[in-house]
């Protein structure tokens, strides 16, 4: 949801290191970040703030080595669930990027790949089979996208 990004970020963890020099907070151990309807669970979470103070989080590791992401869709009673070895979430641009073993399920739609970028503002995806948004033509790692036909309003994700 759009309103999430201006809300304060609540974080629970076992440890945190406040690094003054680099102006970052490093949370470690059973990390749970919640901001409005957004939740990210991981082993480690590095939170930094850009000039305007928008938070940016990099979550790595978690159960089975995967960090998990969950956010309610704008104005719908549907949830976006995502996981990846690393999840980067940028509150300002509302971009959530999933790296390695990336998998995002939103309602009935499902996307898998090495890299998925989910734009929370436009609720659109970019998925590639190579790491970091690169595409590897002949590689057997394929992209799988399942988009259910929309019954009602028909705004299918591309």
């Amino acid at each position: 949801e759009k309103a999430d990004r201006s809300k304060p970020v609540n974080i629970e963890a076992d440890r945190v290191t406040v690094d003054d020099k680099n102006k970052i907070h490093i949370f470690e151990g059973h990390v749970v970040l919640t901001q409005g309807t957004l939740t990210i669970r991981s082993d480690k979470l590095v939170v930094s703030q850009d000039m305007e103070g928008y938070q940016r989080g990099i979550a790595t590791g978690g159960e089975g080595g995967l960090a998990r992401f969950r956010q309610k869709r704008e104005g719908k009673n549907e949830w976006v669930n995502g996981e990846g070895e690393r999840i980067e979430h940028d509150a300002r641009s509302e971009l959530s990027q999933f790296f390695q073993r990336a998998h995002v399920k939103s309602g009935e739609d499902e996307v898998r790949g090495q890299y998925i970028q989910f734009n929370g503002a436009t609720e659109t995806y970019l998925v590639t089979n190579g790491p970091n948004a690169t595409t590897i033509p002949s590689q057997q790692g394929r992209v799988q996208v399942t988009i259910q036909p929309k019954k009602k309003d028909g705004a299918a994700a591309p």
Binding site: S6, V9, E12, R15, V16, T17, V18, D19, F27, Q49
Partner: protein, 194 residues
């Protein structure tokens, strides 16, 4: 000749006896221990309204320690301070540490602050003011390291983080909180709204 030896005999016995009794007396006598204050934790001097300045190698004031009163103990050379306030000055942003009580080790190397411990760091280069509160904290002034084994509350601007324990290194600029960490991080908008 024989009877002389005989007459000597009692003399020998007597001197022996005297010697033994002197030795016995000395051995059993407790060495008179002077009641030095080494055995009792007793104040040997006190001071009120004190200001202590510490200079670094270049002669600049490294920190200033102010306290309502202090009590110095002879046996372990420790010092107890009432309402101490420690100001670190030669840093980009002034840092103040205060509490109700503090005990300072012999050479001032270790300071244990107790009751309403507050560490306050002024805002500097874009970072908001930050504070740290706990009930007991150990400070090593010279290496600027601190540790609290009691619950702590850290604030940075409106952001609040609580935890069970804390370790911090002012020089490295790192504060590590451990145990049940709960944080609420707000967007600290560096440009204050007009």
């Amino acid at each position: 000749m024989n009877n002389r030896a005989h007459s000597l005999f009692p003399v020998i016995v007597l001197t022996l006896l005297a010697g033994v009794s002197i030795w016995l007396d000395r051995a059993t006598q407790q060495s008179p221990t002077v009641k030095t204050d080494k055995t009792r934790h007793e104040a040997d001097f006190t001071a009120d309204q004190i200001t202590l300045r510490r200079f670094d190698l270049t002669g600049k004031t490294q920190y200033v320690l102010v306290a309502d009163s202090m009590v110095h103990y002879g046996d372990d050379e420790s010092t107890e301070l009432i309402k101490p306030r420690l100001d670190y000055l030669n840093r980009p942003e002034p840092v103040r540490v205060e509490s109700e009580f503090a005990t300072v080790s012999k050479d001032g190397e270790t300071v244990v602050l107790t009751k309403q411990v507050l560490l306050h760091r002024a805002p500097h280069d874009g970072k908001p003011e930050s504070t740290l509160r706990t009930d007991q904290m150990t400070v090593w002034p010279d290496t600027e390291k601190m540790r609290a084994d009691k619950p702590v509350t850290l604030t940075e601007g409106r952001t609040i983080i609580t935890a069970d324990r804390m370790e911090s290194d002012n020089i490295a600029g790192e504060v590590r909180l451990q145990g049940q960490v709960r944080g609420t991080l707000y967007r600290n908008s560096p440009t204050p709204k007009p």
